[in-house]
């Protein structure tokens, strides 16, 4: 195992690891007979696209980045796209009548089109650029929520929401005197659908849930949840922050009304994100923030709003970040999200098997690998996750420790905190082997 851990550090292909990766291939897709197996991605080749993977920590240990659910690493294509804007055509969008300004506007709108394609939106105008998924949810809560939620109205959420898909709704119902209801989860980290069904009898105005849990990794049955909500007359907002980067997402097939995600979790820059909403909904919504670019006509005492999506994009946005997010979408579509999903599922299964086998006493939370995205939260008995993360850091291993912005979910499992390893396209089995070695070292240090 020490041997494989060493290989993990290198970005060049490691035969032993390739073997380990392929070992679990046959059962990769349950619907393998119905459609062709997804094109495999080659994480060893992809790793060379990520300059940061060639860096080392202060002890000379190569970076082993297992915190992609917090934010992802950035490939050269994204870095170059951001740099090109700053170095070659830095200028404002939707304004300048000169060459570089037109180039900036074109690049910005091309990014919007790429992101629309990534989630199969009907049209690019349904993509509103925001700073991150949090801002997207706040936009809906302020704009749609303040117009449509009133006294006694119910919003249904789940117990596994990230604070971003909880607190904005708390603020809204407190202001409007509405109610929040929560779909509870099973000990395996799955939504209790029979309770969900019962809650829908309350005729909620909105149902908001995460596509993939950032702590448990649970992949929720979004299409089914959406159909049930619509049958009860509710609109549906889906937090796709942990889904859009990791699997093919088709908002039209899901049938949702709003879908939100962050650029920085999908190989794009921080400060970029997207809200997708159905055109008719976005058109009926008042602006969230007011200022330049979101208006058609301004008079001293009144203004007319611009068309969507510009109505929601007041002021100069983070132009280079959104262009970078577009580059990230192109990168992901280029390597193929079917393959990304298969890779990360295989890796998650490998992680759960390896950690359970190699690390005595480890407790892993959430569903089995078949039902989860590339997220594994765990604890070592009697050792605080911060101590775990601190010791792993010495070996160049980056994991998250804390409550991952899901305090109610940790309360649900009576946990103060957890440690979390999470994966992306560049993650490889050798890194998981290194994690297992590191965790054994943690156990040794605390057990001596």
């Amino acid at each position: 195992m020490a041997d494989t851990a060493t290989h993990a550090a290198e970005s060049s292909p490691a035969p032993a690891m390739t073997h380990a990766t392929h070992a679990a291939t046959p059962a990769a897709s349950p619907s393998a007979s119905a459609r062709p197996a997804p094109a495999r991605i080659d994480p060893y080749r992809l790793r060379t696209d990520f300059p940061i993977l060639a860096t080392a920590n202060r002890f000379g240990k190569p970076l082993i980045y297992l915190d992609s659910a917090a934010t992802s690493l950035k490939p050269r294509a994204v870095i170059d796209a951001v740099d090109a804007y700053n170095a070659e055509y830095s200028s404002n969008i939707h304004r300048g009548i000169y060459e570089i300004a037109e180039r900036a506007t074109a690049a910005y709108e091309a990014a919007r089109a790429s992101i629309a394609r990534l989630i199969n939106a009907r049209e690019a105008a349904e993509i509103v650029f925001v700073r991150n998924a949090t801002e997207a949810i706040n936009l809906v809560a302020y704009s749609w929520g303040r117009r449509n939620i009133g006294r006694g109205d119910t919003i249904v959420l789940t117990e596994m929401e990230h604070h971003a898909n909880l607190v904005p709704w708390q603020v809204l119902v407190q202001e409007k005197d509405g109610d929040l209801e929560f779909v509870p989860i099973t000990d395996d980290g799955l939504l209790q659908l029979e309770v969900y069904e019962a809650l829908l009898h309350l005729r909620p105005k909105l149902v908001a849930f995460t596509h993939v849990s950032n702590m448990l990794g649970t992949i929720n049955p979004v299409r089914e949840l959406t159909e049930m909500a619509h049958a009860a007359g509710a609109l549906v907002l889906i937090d796709g922050a942990q889904a859009a980067p990791h699997a093919p997402v088709d908002v039209q097939a899901i049938g949702a009304d709003f879908y939100v995600f962050s650029g920085h979790k999908m190989l794009g820059p921080t400060g970029s994100g997207a809200l997708w909403g159905r055109r008719e909904l976005l058109e009926a919504m008042p602006p969230f923030m007011a200022g330049g670019d979101m208006i058609r006509e301004v008079h001293l005492r009144r203004s007319d709003w611009n068309e969507i999506p510009y109505k929601f994009e007041a002021g100069t946005p983070d132009i280079s970040a959104q262009i970078g997010m577009g580059a990230a979408a192109e990168y992901l579509m280029g390597i193929g999200l079917d393959g990304v999903q298969a890779h990360e599922q295989e890796l998650t299964r490998y992680a759960m098997e390896t950690l359970r086998r190699e690390v005595p006493g480890i407790e892993i939370y959430g569903p089995e690998a078949e039902a989860r995205g590339g997220v594994v939260s765990f604890n070592l008995p009697g050792i605080h996750p911060h101590d775990v993360a601190q010791i792993l850091d010495r070996s160049g291993i980056c994991i998250r420790a804390g409550h991952h912005c899901t305090m109610p979910l940790h309360e649900r499992f009576d946990l103060a905190a957890t440690a979390r390893a999470s994966f992306n396209v560049y993650s490889i089995p050798g890194e998981i082997d290194a994690l297992a070695v590191g965790l054994r070292e943690v156990v040794r240090i605390f057990g001596r």
Partner: protein, 148 residues
Amino acid sequence: MKSSAYSGAERILDPMDDLYRDYILEHYRRPHNFGVLDTPTASYEGSNPLCGDRITMMLGVSDGVVRDVAFTGRGCAISQASASLLTDEIKGKTVEEVEKMTPDDLLDLIGIDISPARLKCALLSLDTVAHALADMASKQDGAEPGPG
């Protein structure tokens, strides 16, 4: 903040063990003064919600001296070892001396380099003691209105 917070790397011999030295782990595993006082004169529960660290400090003060001290809590090794070391340190000190203790004093006591991300863990114990003493002082002010 201690100026050396991030400067420890170059003088670490065994990088795995610098933070988790035996005495730190020993204080974590078998904390000193762990328990409760039946009738504390000062008591406070401090927490770092972000980490889940939690410490309740109980002080027995008479004639301006901390005669007895106990704590309970749960959390990371740094926070619990820090509380254990601090309780040893303040027992027998005057309230005035304890109130004068600075974060640097506590970090010196802990004796390891704490990275900025872990400062909150390390300093929770002192922060909790300070709150307990402040609570005690405000209650005394309330209980003894004016010269009697």
